[in-house]
Amino acid sequence: MADLDTFRRETRAWLEANCPPEMRRPMTSDEDTFWGGRNAKFSSEPQRVWFERMRDKGWTVPHWPREYGGGGLDGEEAKIVRQEMAAIGARAPITSFGISMLGPALLKYGTDAQKREHLPKITAGLIRWCQGYSEPNAGSDLASLQTRAESDGDDYIINGQKIWTSYANYADWIFCLVRTDPAAKKHDGISFILFDMTSEGVSTKPILLISGRSPFCETFFDNVRVPKANVLGTVNRGWDVAKYLLQHERAMISGMGERGGSRPLGQVAADSVGSDAQGKLDDALLRAEIATFDVDEAALAAAAERMVDLAKAGQGHPAFSSAMKYYGTELNKRRHELLMSSGGIDALEWESERSHEGARPRAWLRTKANSIEGGTSEVMLGIVAKRILDLPGA
């Protein structure tokens, strides 16, 4: 305990000295997120400084091994870093699918060569990854995917189409599910493969969403040649890797509602709606809804903490991330409904500097995808019913 107290003190002091004040303010626009990658640009000097200091400290991913550019911290220490960052409202130095999704799968299934090749570039923010899972006819029924990889000597030739590929147009590499054995049962003929998005035959087309933005793309593969050495895990056992990665993806999405450092909903509402003489929000029903939301949000944060602690103690249930994904995304949608309601007509402005180009309504619309992407709420409830509750025929 004493060691952890010392570690906490040192962490606090280091963050105090190294996190620029600008990086402790709530994010207000998309530019505030740094994604890394070959074409990465920093939107400000403090953003660059903060990223580079965290990278050099190994804290872009505090709990990964040092040999791959991580911080080599154990679970308790990494938790302390998260808590101390949250305490000062520090922004994440980088947002990266390499860190939140591919990394855990690489650590578990990767060969030494694959780990040495990819992990250091993820921790250093040099390569930006995207995820090729969904297809036009493989959404909730993901395992019915059709993109095929045909053997050609030491390579595969990949043909097909992915959809909802987040930021495919900005990504450097893709981790992708492809069918390597069309004759096998649908879960048994899939492989998990990694390749460069600049390979010949790869093209992307952004999809315009209801938010007026295009975070997702259609991604096309036309005779893309990929070395067989790029398969992660065993050929035709890619579904295992995919499911393992989905657990991490779902845990990440469930945490998307946790806005460390942003202003509490009640205060945001008070700014627009006003307060009565006793300081209560001047809309009793909105106040009640926000209070209930705050209760649920605090409870979810405790559950997220407990999920990590249970996993560390070897008592976690592998399907529990589906439970958290369901609850976290539904809660985040509630948050944004309340933000819209709190903002009233001011929250309706779509194009103006005053509204940060409609940041609030665009974010509200974006959250509607939370309960669809990474497995719909209905699929999550089905997983809980089947794998945790053991209900028949689920």
Binding site: P264, G266, Q267, A269, A270, S275, G279, K280, L281, R287, A288, I290, A291, T292, D294, V295, D296, A298, A299, L300, A302, A303, E305, R306, D309, L310, K312, A313, Q315, F320, A323, Y326, Y327, E378, M380, L381, G382, V384, A385, I388, L389, D390, L391, P392, G393, A394
Partner: protein
């Protein structure tokens, strides 16, 4: 600190579970109810509770107790919630023991705490007056008189009031109802002149009473803590009690849920188990998730109470609000998914629904605690 039980706490849970499930399944409550038992719980079982160290769980070791904390209280309460065992644990061992430990003079502590730990003394907190839990709205009057005070007023929902050997009475010695200053706690002999106690038979067949005070004389050395400054102690005691009741509701919810899922697997209609229907699967899965999240929130509050009893208010408000909402959902889904059987007195599920309703009101309902949280957060 990990949000898990320690090994010692898990062992405590196992021993509490063993005792309670062996000696006080729901049938125990049913029997007490049907026989209109005068005490409302089993004194014999309470003696066993004391022998195992549960009665004095919070009592410091120098006064004959175990000197444990909020998480341990929660562990025992959760097991009580699983079988709905009626017991003086909440009123005597949690609320009264913590008030005496926290605010008692040396003499008061040595007079009462060892007897609480040994199971000899039953105590009750007389706080609520109106239909809803509003501690600061206490109006029962305490007026200085001679060497002490004179009490006038009425209390309701005094848990174990009709069997208590000692009443802890919250009174207003100054200020107006609604104000934080001016509350004083008194230790009152239930047999004192002017005290009238009416046992109230409640929906859940657990103990409660209405107690009236008509010019009841209380000596100055029966003031518990500071005159006019009782609110601070009361907050800590109530927060601990709220954590305890929230734990009872977690146990209750989980038990109802377990019984309901078992029923979904066993009951057949249209030629298959009703648990195969997606309409029910999704509701069951949602309820499971609510219960797990509530469990984490409650443990978080109990740990916060152990770390700093006066700084846990927000975590406790979250826990009690969540536990109330979750238990309400669990029992409603429980009865609905049991269909007609859920409506019968013969099935236990209705007992859980009734107890959940009482737990929800005890020490503040979900609305009260959500509003408290809003106030703490300044909106």
């Amino acid at each position: 600190m990990p949000l898990l039980l320690t090994e010692e706490q898990s062992m405590l849970r196992d021993s509490a579970r063993g005792l309670i499930s062996d000696h006080a399944p729901v049938a125990h409550l049913r029997k007490l109810r049907d026989s209109r038992d005068e005490t409302g719980f089993s004194r014999e079982l309470w003696a066993t509770f004391a022998e195992m160290g549960f009665a004095g769980l919070l009592v410091p070791e120098e006064h004959g107790g175990s000197g444990l904390g909020a998480v341990e209280v929660g562990v025992v309460m959760e097991e009580i919630g699983r079988t709905l065992m009626p017991s003086p644990f909440l009123a005597t061992s949690v609320l009264s023991a913590s008030a005496l430990t926290r605010a008692g003079s040396a003499a008061q502590k040595s007079d009462y705490l060892p007897k609480i730990a040994s199971g000899e003394l039953l105590a009750a907190l007389a706080l609520d007056e109106g239909a809803k839990h509003r501690p600061l709205h206490t109006a029962l009057q305490a007026v200085r008189s001679g060497n002490g005070f004179r009490l006038n007023g009425a209390k309701a929902m005094v848990v174990d009031g009709h069997v208590a050997d000692l009443l802890l009475v919250v009174a207003r010695s100054a200020g107006a109802p609604g104000e934080r200053d001016g509350l004083t706690l008194f230790l009152v002999d239930p047999k004192a002149k002017g005290v009238a106690i009416e046992r109230t038979i409640m929906v859940d067949a657990h103990n409660a009473a209405r107690v009236t005070f008509d010019n009841v004389e209380v000596n100055a050395d029966h003031v518990l803590g500071e005159v006019d400054g009782g609110a601070a102690v009361l907050s800590c005691v109530l927060d601990l009690g709220r954590g305890a009741v929230a734990s009872e509701m977690v146990g209750l919810s989980e038990e109802v849920f377990g019984r309901t899922v078992a029923y979904l697997k066993e009951r057949k209609q249209f030629g298959k188990a009703i648990g195969e229907f997606q309409a029910l699967q999704h509701r069951a899965a949602h309820l499971y998730i609510e219960i797990e999240i509530t469990r984490a929130a409650v443990l978080k509050a109990l740990q916060a109470l152990d770390a700093d009893p006066s700084g846990a208010a927000a975590a406790v408000a979250v826990a009690k609000a969540r536990a109330g909402a979750t238990a309400t959902r669990a029992v409603q889904e429980g009865v609905q998914m049991h269909g007609g059987m859920g409506m019968t007195d013969q099935f236990d599920i209705g007992f859980f629904m009734k107890r959940a309703r009482v737990c929800e009101e005890l020490l503040g309902d979900a609305n009260y605690h959500a509003a408290q949280l809003a106030q703490m957060r300044g909106y």
